[in-house]
Each structure stands twice: as C-alpha cells, then as structure tokens.
C-alpha cells in the first residue's frame, strides 16, 4: 500500500481557524518527516537504481553547467569590481585575491550555486513529479510493479545531493577566474601570483565546510522539489503551485541553513 497516502490523507477539521492552521502546520511537518524517513529507508533498500541516479546526475549536474558557469563568472567579476574601491581607499588593493577567495569559497559559491539550483533543478523536480502525479503516471508506475518513490524520488534527491558539492567547487573555480580576469585587467597581477595569494587565505576547513553546506543544500533542494511534486493535487494549477513552492521553500531553507552552518563553523574555527 502507498505509505504516504496515509499521511497526506490526514486533514485536520476546519472548526476553528487558528487551531486549524496550527494543526495543518504540524500535520505538514509530520508529513515531511515521514517523507524524509521514507527516503532514507528506501535509499538503502534494493534495487539501488544506479542507472537512474547516473541519468539524474547528468540531468541536474551536467545540464546545469552553462547557467552555473555564467553565474559564477559574473559573480567573481562583480564582487571584485565592488570590493576594489573600498580596499583601494586604504591602499590595500593587493588584498583583493585573498578577500575574493575567502568570500567566494566560504559563502558566495555555495549560496549562489544553491540558489541557482533551487530555481532550475528544484522547480523542475516539483513540476515534473507534480505533472506525473496529476496525470496518474505515478499510479501507473505503482500498478506496473515499480516502486515510484524509489525510482523517482530517491534517485533525484540522491543525484542533486551528490552533484551540488561538485557544482559548488566548479562555481568557486569559475568565480575565481572571473575575478582574476578583472584584477589582471586593472592591476596586471599574474595568474600565479593571484592564485598563490588566493589559495593561501583558504583553509581546509573552508573547503570542507563548503562541501558540507553543498550536501545539505542539495538534499534540501531535492527533498523540497520532490515532496511538493509528489504531493501535487488539483491538476495544472497544482503543478504550478508545486513548482513554485519547491523554489520558495528550498530558497528559504537554504538561507536558514546557511545561518546555522556559519555559526557552527565559526565556533569550530
């Protein structure tokens, strides 16, 4: 039997508006908890769906490269341009590579990549699964002896969780190149000097924390997108709502998680 149909069927009675909203909030929270619990349960159960995971990695990773490249490159250039006047005022333009590398690796690369992925991949997951749900394709999979949760949800969440760290490192590199080109144009700094200075300022903890953040953001984007899509109702309107909610919820959660992780990393540092 479908496990989470039990959860989505729970609708609190609409007797009193406030208690109804509170009930709805906690019912929703319980439904998310069940959904995530089911993900971890099915993640480690057979069959492992490696082929579909690789297909999804291609979809969410490789196909996001053009957008991520452009965004990372522009972020590097813009941040360098914006930072230069402030540093130049104190005669500290030579600190630009250090400042840029710290900003990009610690914060900008994970955040920008996650927000782009939330918009592109999260909305896509919400819309695709939502559309499959309302056109009974998920039911069709279920009655044909396939586990749709495993095939559609587990593979997508796993793929984005694995691919986001790689995309974050890639964005970091592209951002640094953008920054270098801008610095080279203005200060004639050599490639080696720029990267020597930039890399000296970055610690192992910075890179580890970025990868860890990317894992968390990736899971959040996948879970939000798949949850919204998998529970879509009310036809095309519901599909639009699922895609929209997937983006809004994952972006909101990414900022909350960023705040928490920064606090934790600063404590460790």
């Amino acid at each position: 039997m479908k496990e989470d149909s039990d959860v989505s069927d729970i609708v609190p009675e609409k007797k009193y508006v406030i208690s109804y909203e509170v009930d709805l909030f906690f019912t929703g929270l319980y439904s998310v908890y069940k959904f995530i619990g089911r993900f971890f349960k099915e993640l480690f159960s057979l069959p492992f769906e490696f082929k579909e995971i690789i297909n999804q990695c291609y979809q969410v990773g490789y196909k996001s490269l053009p957008l991520i490249s452009l965004t990372g490159f522009i972020t590097g250039i813009v941040f360098t341009k914006q930072s230069r006047p402030s540093l130049a005022e104190f005669g500290a333009s030579s600190w630009l590579p250090s400042l840029i590398s710290i900003a990009i690796i610690r914060a900008l690369a994970p955040l920008v990549t996650a927000l782009i992925a939330a918009g592109k991949v999260g909305s896509n997951m919400g819309a695709e699964l939502g559309s499959m749900k309302v056109t009974e394709q998920i039911d069709a999979m279920e009655v044909s002896g396939t586990k749709p949760f495993k095939f559609l949800v587990v593979t997508r969440i796993t793929a984005i969780t694995l691919m986001l760290p790689i995309l974050v490192l890639y964005t970091g590199l592209i951002g640094m190149i953008g920054s270098y080109l801008n610095i080279h144009q203005n200060e004639l700094t050599s490639f080696t000097a720029f990267f020597n200075s930039a890399l000296k300022s970055i610690s192992f903890l910075d890179i580890t924390a970025s990868i860890f953040k990317a894992l968390i953001y990736g899971f959040t984007i996948g879970a939000a997108g798949c949850y919204q899509g998998y529970h879509a109702t009310n036809g095309t309107k519901g599909v639009g709502k699922a895609a929209n909610a997937a983006v809004v919820i994952s972006m909101f959660m990414i900022f909350v998680e960023e705040m928490v992780i920064v606090q934790v990393v600063n404590t460790i540092r």
Binding site: M1, K2, S5, V11, S131, M132, T135, E136, Q137, D139, A140, M141, E142, V143, S144, G145, T146, K147, F151
Partner: protein, 259 residues
Amino acid sequence: MDTRAINIESGETVISIRGLKKAFDNNIVLRGIDIDMLKGENIAVLGRSGSGKSVLIKIISGLLKQDSGTVKVLGQEVEELTEEALRELRLKIGFSFQSSALYDSMNVKENLAFPLVRNKLSLTQKEINIAVESVLHDVGLSQTIQQMPSELSGGQRKRIGIARTLIMKPEIMLYDEPTSGLDPMTCIEINNLIIKVQQQYNASAIIITHDLTCAKNTANKVTMIIDGKFLVPGSFEEIFNAKNTNTSSFYDYNFINSK
C-alpha cells in the same frame, strides 16, 4: 474475431468483494459493495460521475485503501499483503487509466518496455524488443513504436496504455473509462480490443464506463453503482429491461444500436 464478449458460465473466482465501504472525509462513496468475478469474465460497471467507480478499481489494485470490507484478488486479500506481495500481485493486474497515463518523457517503445525492464530482469534486450513489437501488433499500432506520447491521438494513447498492461500478460484487466472522449469509430476499435484481450489473453476485466455500447458489447455482465451500492449484476438486457429509473435514464441518454 467475435465482436461480443465470450460468455462465462462458471469457473474460478478471481475477484471477490464483500461489504466494501469507502469515504473521503464526510463524502461516503461506497456503502457496501459485494461482487464475485469469474475467470475470463468481463463485468461493466456503470454509474454517475463521482459515484465511486474509479475508486473501486483503485481499491482492487491497492492504490487506495478501503475503510471496511474485504477485497480478494486471485485468492489474496489485498489489504493484508506486504509491499512485496502486493507488487507481485499487481504484475497479474493490468490497469488501463482514463488518461492513459503514458510516461511523457519516454517514447512508445520505452513506455511498453518499462514494465518488463523493471520486473523481468532475466530478459535480454532482444526478447524485450520482440515482446514490444508483438504487443504493438496486437493493438494495431506497430508504426508508432518510435513516437512520443504527445504525438499520438487520444485513441492511440488509449491503445498504447492497454498495450503497456498487456505486455505483462495480466490475468485481470481494469479499464477506467476506456472509450471516454473518443469518436464512435475509435470507440468501436477500443471495444474490439477489449474483447480481443478477453479472448486472446483469457483475462477477466472490470470495465468502468458511461458508454452503454461499450458495456453491451464488451461485458458478460453489467452492474451499476447507485447510492454507493451495486445493482445485482446481470446481462445487459436483464439490467435495462428491468424498470428502474436510474438505469432507464442512463439508457435513454445513450442511443443504443443493438448491432
């Protein structure tokens, strides 16, 4: 090919439903359904929109849970099955959805191969290709093998949807509104296909429909859901010759050509 359903007098019971009840919030849809279906038998279920016809077959296939009552399919009580046992049982049930529910991102060949690829791991690619071509031939759509679902007409989508279930050689077919939204000529093609499935695959079927021509031509028995309960199933003539306001209004609306 005979254009009427084969008459089944006796045999093994493949579906047995007793006291089936289902409600959504305060809306009680099924109020106690009882029915037995024999092997090879086609039963048409009529009823108004929202009367619970689709809910009934979703409960039979385990997509929905009943509130009370028992549903035995091929001797197994659906509600009590483990996830794996239910998966095994579903391989013996073909479900043709009202919307066809073809996978948008796959072409016809991939749609048809999907259940085999997922469930018959020992099959080679060549064997899968042969099975796909054979079932496409059965539904008369061999030329569509490389087409995407969006390139198919409504009738073609329905037939591909049926073909996708036939590829697993089901013992029971559940048709949800197989002729809805189709032109009369395509309806005849679908009706003939339903009979062909009964004859060629010896599959029993529940046919949910509003189309009396479909019910008359494809089913051995006809029943109707009225106020959440079944009329006693009988032949088309028995049901519609009886003076019942519900069945007569249904009959009057549909122009029936007895041929």
